[in-house]
Symmetry: D3
Subunit: 137 residues, 6 copies
């Protein structure tokens, strides 16, 4: 069993605020992340896939295929977008980094399985200091 990782980057805006809460409560809980007109980040997405090595190629999965899945299922929808307004699969979901990781898992678990490998981890780096990992359960 080998674990292979592919990184992609997307630049997106988001705002953290619970729509059922008052402005005061949102400011108290989310601080400047609740500012009305959004802020943004260069998010790093690191996808880990596990599987056995194909003896003909030396690959768990061809990175060309993994990159294509990540691009079509995630990056195209979030890069240079506002995560609160623009992303179909984020509708009604607070765009915290934790939630992003869980939603991204849903987006690519199936397509990766079709290539004979298994999604192992979604890692999102929001800033130099804040990161999240999700292992699917």
């Amino acid at each position: 069993m080998i674990y292979i990782q592919r990184r992609a980057i997307f630049s997106a805006a988001h705002r953290l605020a619970n729509p059922s809460w008052s402005d005061e409560k949102n400011q108290a809980v989310f601080g400047h992340c609740a500012n009305e007109y959004s802020h943004g980040h260069n998010f790093q997405l690191i996808v880990t896939v596990k599987g056995e090595v194909n003896p003909d190629t030396g690959f768990v999965i061809n990175l060309v295929d993994l990159k294509a899945i990540m691009d079509s299922e995630i990056i195209q929808h979030v890069d240079h977008r506002n995560l609160n307004h623009d992303v179909p699969f984020m509708q009604g979901i607070m765009p915290s980094t934790e939630n992003l990781a869980m939603v991204f898992w849903q987006q690519i678990e199936g397509p990766i399985a079709k290539h004979g490998a298994a999604l192992h981890c979604i890692r999102i780096v929001e800033t130099e200091n804040n990161m999240v990992e999700y292992y699917g359960e």
Copy 2:
């Protein structure tokens, strides 16, 4: 003459679009940077100050003072903000990285001079691949 640099980070949203242009022209020139609901970045700001070394301290400028100037004159106004909507000194200015560098220079040149040193360069790193430098002229 010694050059000393201090880095700060701010996470902000912005949108690049010329308000006197059509949506089509904005998309043609600015591409996905013109998307309506903004996107964002973790911007790095690196300020270079030059001067002679004070023999009592070994410092060109006390980094405590330089950090305080950068925080009060720039970072407080742009961190976790939308550069098109929230920043008083960016009103009416396209928030390209180039323009940010020139406006930031105006914000801190005077305060740094009061500490007996001279602002030399404003460097802004927008992404791993895009950076700008401005030397004041």
Copy 3:
């Protein structure tokens, strides 16, 4: 279950030497890490916390709270300090990176549990080339 990470940095001095050994034995085992007047590093501390996502906030733990715990329980005591002389919770403990990781675990496991989440890993990056991880057992 989601894993969230927060990074902090501290700049500290330390010296590796076993006080019950001769200078010769300390030099043989610890090399230049045993030099009498200490040396130092910019240590990176990365704390991983695990838990379920709160549906109201999208958070495992509010990073404001995690940062406050890391600051008050660890960073305040070690930043710009000498790990052999200045740190109450390091008294009598060799300040190797391994031992730092285990002591830091004791410092923050309880406070994090009070926020309904669980400490998962302490990671310390001593240099570009040397790192340690501790999972509490």
Copy 4:
């Protein structure tokens, strides 16, 4: 149980091509990685070793020893080398990053065990965007 990591860097050339396939099939599967005259990378090798902390030293393993093992068993053989031509322990093996990780495991598992610690993970970073991990099974 503590996990300690040591990083080393090697600059090597490699070519990915299955010698039993036609040029067309190699280009179709491996793309520009199959170019005849090779390309290359600055590979990062990160070795994780686990064990208990020696109370006399505060160490799982003396990093001087771990570095020596990594140098003599791996780095000397691959640094500034062509992975398809120059490396005795890679003969007949496709030099994919996955295969490198598995072969490197064989090279250092025994020597590390002689120091009373256990090899836990081989991590290889091929580019900013591509990485592999192997845990020995």
Copy 5:
């Protein structure tokens, strides 16, 4: 006058050896860089362009255009290539990082000028520890 930088990465093999010298002399001068079957690097190319800011766009040069020039004139020819064998504009030139920088300048100075800006600097990062800059004279 504003300076804008764009980074690109290419993975290439090269060998440093003077064909008019003996193997012994090449080993003495170039060390392991002269190994027969080449080695390789992930080179970073950072291009700095200077000019005035266009008031309609806030840009010195549209980074879409700068990226296209760098791709078509440089990256396409060197990425996943052997710099001694594969690159038309490197024929007969020792592929040292210094020479790469000077040849790359020739490749893109003209195309950048056509966009109303001026090439200012070619920077190449060969490894974490080795870098070169060329300013055109």
Copy 6:
């Protein structure tokens, strides 16, 4: 004229305090940098050398030679040392990053000149956020 850079790293302790001042004044000016038992950093030293390219080698200076000069004249004296106590060429000099840069210039300007190249810049990175450059005048 080409500019070539070589990076080296050293881990050192230092304390910033003016011996002719009271403890109170030192704390007021230097803050936690004046703590009695020192703190430390992983300093990065980046040396820039300029010169013309030797047509036989493609080099401004052989990096083997530049590395040897940096090691023997600087790194050996400061790595894993206390900059206030251990370094002959720092005696009586406040070990601020500014002063380090100027003293390091004196150490290597002559030896580099003997190789037919010229020292252009000493750059020292003290932390992710603090850096200094000195150009010799």
